[in-house]
Amino acid sequence: MVSDPTPRWYDCRVGIVSPGFQGRPRSAEPALPPGQYLTEDFPVLSAGPTPRVPLDTWEFVVSAEGGAEYRWSWNELMGLPQEAPTVDLHCVTRWSKLGTNWQGVSLDTLLEGIDTAARYALVHSYGGYTTNLPLDDLRGGRAWVAHGYDGGPLPAEHGGPARLLVPHLYLWKSAKWVRGIRLLVDDKPGFWETAGYHDYGDPWREQRYQGD
């Protein structure tokens, strides 16, 4: 008998939980994925100390399954076509934040011209974090290397200098302090995916844990 479905080893209720949600009539309240609540805050979640990565040594590396590497320095990233997606965020700790404004480079741009037959991606970060997802989920205008938030540089606590942004999956897939992506023929589970969390993590199907 489980009376409280919320994992109790951490407090995920950092934000405002208000069914009344001031400022918008109830009829205009947007639909949330199952089990999520709305927050106006931007809670900071992290599996470790915040890495401080100087921009002059920062790089982003895509390595293809055959060993070929494709590198971008910070200036090279800034020289690519920039996008400004407005997206909803859904964290597996049950908060959702809607209409967030980002600046970054589409993964379509970064993957363009990379010759690969890989079907999977393992994203890795400064600080050692990893997360995996199908390569197709990084394509089709659904994923970015984001370096700006709300018109300013992305703060380190939210993953700056740059983080992955894959808003159609739970937020643990949007790796903070992103450093690169390995393109893989076979799926390789990442930091949370090897410790009980779902391999794919679709919030609308509530894929929180393995077997969900």
Partner: protein, 97 residues
Amino acid sequence: MTDMSYLDGNMLDGPLRELFAVDLSGATGRCESCGTVGPMAGLHVFSHAPGLIGRCPACSEVMLRLVRAPDRAWLDLRGSTYLQVPLPMDQPYPRPL
């Protein structure tokens, strides 16, 4: 949130008691990465996350991951070479064959 955002390993007592019959609050662990041996209570525990992450106080590598679902829990100790658990002297124990 800064680098001081972790808790000390004493906070693991309750969550681990849910999994184990033995009391791990007095246990000692060895870091797989750097070899440091120390009390579980000395781990740096990051709790604002989808699970609990216990990091080595010496090298900050991950020694313990604990994920709690409503009906299940996962304990990942791949970053720990061993846990040494104190046990009472006056109880019978299985000897090596």
